[in-house]
């Protein structure tokens, strides 16, 4: 059956095109949702202080800390909700927590 892609179910979709019962025909579609806009406080990654212990990564409830080649990169701000858990668990003060300028 010809199915609409999850990425095409967005805020421009008409009622005629939305799926029956809002069904979604592919997995792992939460990555398309911009939960970053919920953020009030924002973590700031200070690379110079980071020892790459990666403790912040499993604590992040939203998989918003990308890891490549055993090293973390800057936050994925499309998904980071600014909960601040990473700030609390970081043993090296490598994450600041600031009010976001909008």
């Amino acid at each position: 059956m010809n199915r609409i892609k999850a990425a095409d179910i967005n805020e421009n979709i008409s009622w005629q095109d939305i799926t029956k019962g809002a069904e979604i025909y592919e997995p792992a579609t939460s990555r398309y949702i911009n939960t970053g806009e919920w953020r009030v406080m924002t973590p700031v990654f200070k690379e110079d202080k980071c020892k790459q212990c990666l403790l912040c990564v499993p604590f992040c409830p939203d998989s918003a800390i990308p890891v490549q080649d055993e090293k973390r990169a800057d936050f994925d701000f499309y998904h980071c909700k600014g909960c601040g858990i990473c700030v609390n668990v970081c043993p090296f003060d490598a994450i600041d927590y600031v009010k976001e300028e909008k």
Binding site: S14, K20, I24, Y25, P27
Partner: protein
């Protein structure tokens, strides 16, 4: 056989994949009969005896989402306990078929028949089909399977508790093989057990999506009529029995008419026959399909009458009328030459309604026609009133 046994027999012939059920008077017999069929090896349904109606509907929702043909039965407070899930089933577009043996809602506590349970659920997004007698509830249940699957909407198949659910009458059963062929194999559009395609059912609907989903759901109900008629046509080809949205009884030259749902239509028909013998031009419109509401068909049927009495077997407590009257009168609003319309609340909590009561209704309609107006439209029949003479 009783109306409950008729429904259970239909279920046996359909042989659904899953039945989640919890007993409640007066629908208890349906899962009882059905478990006997299971014990005797006549069906291979997965029967899930749950601890509540909330769970019974949840079982059906899970089963239907998984790709199964799911059925259940309930009444009264059991239906009320399903409330939350009724909306989940309808909005997830799951074609569950549910038999409802209509019974009053508490309180006062009553096991008697009226329509307050199903009428309360009228806006939950379920198709609602009502039966006058045991034959109709059997026929409706078989048709409901295909109606639900064609529209992807759940269907409530209603009958009057005790009056037809326990009242025994001769009915014509269809051969098992014919029913099997009629309902065929269920082929869901999308199902959770499909290993070829991942599927998410019932996602969170944030404000930018919720209204579009509901608008699409409303459209499915608007378009359900054609599926209901197509299934009825196919059913008539098999059995010779005709079904539509409404049934018009002696309406051809009727000047006054009653609109009625369920078993009381039989009583009212007897009254219409009596009055016709006396030369009175009276008729009856029975609503079989209440959801989707057959507004166009009702307007056509009532286009030539001078006055109509709408019979409500449920209160609405809106201070103005019962639920059926509100919708019938609304449907007639755009008519060029609309009839006078009055509402009669009747039969609550199992209160009997007789041919004489309907004579009284038709007599009151005559008075309204003579006066050219109605006074109080929110009326009662067969309730003791110290200011009125009792009706024998």
């Amino acid at each position: 056989m009783s109306g409950n046994e008729a429904v259970a027999t239909a279920m046996r012939q359909i042989n659904p994949d899953v039945c989640g059920a919890f007993p409640i008077t007066p629908s208890t017999e349906i899962p009882e009969y059905f478990s006997q069929f299971m014990a005797n090896g006549l069906v291979d349904t997965q029967f899930v005896p749950v601890e509540s109606e909330h769970s019974a509907m949840s079982v059906c929702i899970g089963a239907s989402a998984a790709g199964a043909r799911a059925v259940t039965a309930t009444s009264s407070c059991g239906l009320a306990y399903m409330w939350e899930l009724l909306y989940v089933a309808a909005s997830s577009r799951l074609p569950i078929t549910m038999a409802v043996s209509n019974r009053a809602l508490t309180g006062p506590i009553s096991i008697g028949n009226d329509h307050s349970d199903a009428m309360g659920a009228r806006d939950s997004g379920w198709i609602q089909i009502y039966a006058e007698d045991n034959q109709e509830v059997y026929d409706n249940f078989i048709q409901a399977i295909l109606i639900g699957e064609a529209t992807r909407l759940p269907v409530m198949v209603c009958q009057d508790g005790f009056i037809t659910s326990h009242g025994v009458s001769n009915i014509e059963l269809i051969e098992d093989e014919k029913v099997k062929e009629f309902v065929g194999e269920y082929e869901p559009e999308a199902w959770l057990l499909n290993g070829e395609e991942p599927l998410a059912v019932g996602p969170y609907g944030t404000a930018p999506y919720y209204m579009e989903v509901k608008r699409a759901q409303a459209q499915a109900m608007k378009e359900a009529g054609s599926a209901i008629l197509e299934v009825a046509e196919k059913f008539e080809a098999m059995t010779g029995r005709h079904y539509g949205f409404i049934e018009e009884y002696r309406m051809e030259d009727a000047e006054t008419a009653v609109v009625v749902i369920g078993s009381s239509a039989g009583t009212a028909k007897a009254c219409v026959d009596q009055l016709r013998e006396e030369g009175r031009k009276v008729g009856l419109v029975k609503i079989r399909v209440f959801r989707p509401f057959p507004a166009r068909e009702l307007v056509k049927a009532l286009s030539r009458v001078k006055a109509v009495a709408v019979m409500d077997k449920a209160e609405s407590f809106n201070g103005c009328s019962g639920p059926l009257f509100a919708e019938v009168r609304s449907a007639m609003y755009d008519m060029e030459d609309r009839p006078l319309a009055v509402d009669y609340i009747y039969g609550l909590g199992g209160r009997d309604v007789t041919v004489d009561h309907f004579r009284q209704v038709f007599a009151a309609l005559d008075e309204d026609v003579t006066a050219g107006k109605t006074d109080e439209v929110y009326r009662y029949i067969c309730v003791r009133d110290r200011d009125e003479q009792p009706v024998r």
